[in-house]
Point group: C2
Chain length 241, copies 2
Amino acid sequence: MTDKSKRIADGKAAIFGRLESVARLFDTDREAITSLPLSLVERAAGQELQAVDTPLNEPRFVLSGWICRCVTLQDGRRQILDFYIAGDLVGYSSRPGTRAKASYQCLTDALCIDAADLIARTQGQPLRYPGLAAAWLTIEDEIEQRLMDQVVRNGRMLAHERVLHLMRELDRRHHRAGLGNGDGFVMPLTQEILGEALGLSTVHVNRTLQQLRREQIIRTALGKIEIVNRRLLEAAMQTED
Amino acid sequence: MTDKSKRIADGKAAIFGRLESVARLFDTDREAITSLPLSLVERAAGQELQAVDTPLNEPRFVLSGWICRCVTLQDGRRQILDFYIAGDLVGYSSRPGTRAKASYQCLTDALCIDAADLIARTQGQPLRYPGLAAAWLTIEDEIEQRLMDQVVRNGRMLAHERVLHLMRELDRRHHRAGLGNGDGFVMPLTQEILGEALGLSTVHVNRTLQQLRREQIIRTALGKIEIVNRRLLEAAMQTED
DNA sequence: CGTCAGTTTGAAGCGAATCAAGAACAGTGG
DNA sequence: CCACTGTTCTTGATTCGCTTCAAACTGACG
């Protein structure tokens, strides 16, 4: 249980870091967040957090773990659309009545906290909650931006470019939420998962990661990939956007 | 000028068809649309309608022509994210203050009509404008859905699957807007453009289209691809979603 | 210690990119 | 009306990136 309360505390810190990265928070904003009732949702790796086509009315902050949004075709092919890490808001749409257009699945054990009340109370109230009201807009914007990046990666990039591009995105997101270590961060993802996100076979992901390992950009361990040199990562991407 | 007024009349019909496909329109809705001031925007093929990073505060309906949203990488690689046809709303976001995350470009000569006033007057007014207030939400939802489809196509499908999948989407959109002929519709797109949308080389698009032509699903002419058999199109897609 | 998920390796093959050149066609100006 | 131009489409040959298949290896875990 000490472990769980640490995950909660770290997760809350990540939420603050995440929100502050997109909007300046005022006292009213902070109070609203702090007074969040601790309505926790816990799921094991592999569990579904929200099914396709269910009402998107249960937004949650991720406190710990990795979650993704993905589509599965008839024949079993799976495409991951987006990742969510600690501090991120999952299952949110500003449009009332919207339904989930993809399945939300836990890639690791995950802990979330209900955000519906907080959002309902603060959204569209820029005078009372200047930080939060703006944050919800920006967060939705960023999710759209990431979807676009995903199209570009899958449509126009080579394997090593896709890997680097995604890693840079995730590195920046960790960095701004105050997560990860000084030189990088850890992805608790299997090579299969990475392949499903990048439109590559597991085998080819493996070979691509080997190259990055040789270039001292990453380290790998079972079920984990660690970015160890942010500078080299950026350098290896000169050519791309 | 007779031509232009025909494009306007046909375009308005397409707007009605398009809107009715997602929401039942009431008299108030219809009046609001009909009383749209004719603030037209005309652009030639190849022109940019809206640049990246400019404020997304000039939503417009397409009256005629094809428009796309696309991203260009440093080295010139281009990825088309989405297409807009007659009746579609382009450059719209419900989030105030948002900026364009991609460039909006005209693929053919295009004629648009300003929709900012109409939207400002009707959105968030489900009591006075039940149809339109709902339509704006659904339209935004559909744009997100199409982006997701684009990720899946580029990430998880083979060339012929990508082509068929995109064509089916565009066929359905034409059909519901009352456009196209009975058995299909015309895409005024070069094979290069199609390749930029589907993440394929022009040459490979060409060979893929040849196959579809042999299967009697499409006809091609210079700068155009015509879907001629909707039934065969669907049949060829059994396996996919 | 066996099991199982995840990683790694090699060999073979396929799908798609690339390169290069030619053909079809629309538009232009003489 | 025709030669000229530029764009788009088409074709063949070749190369390359990636997938597939199959098997071995590694490490965590009960």
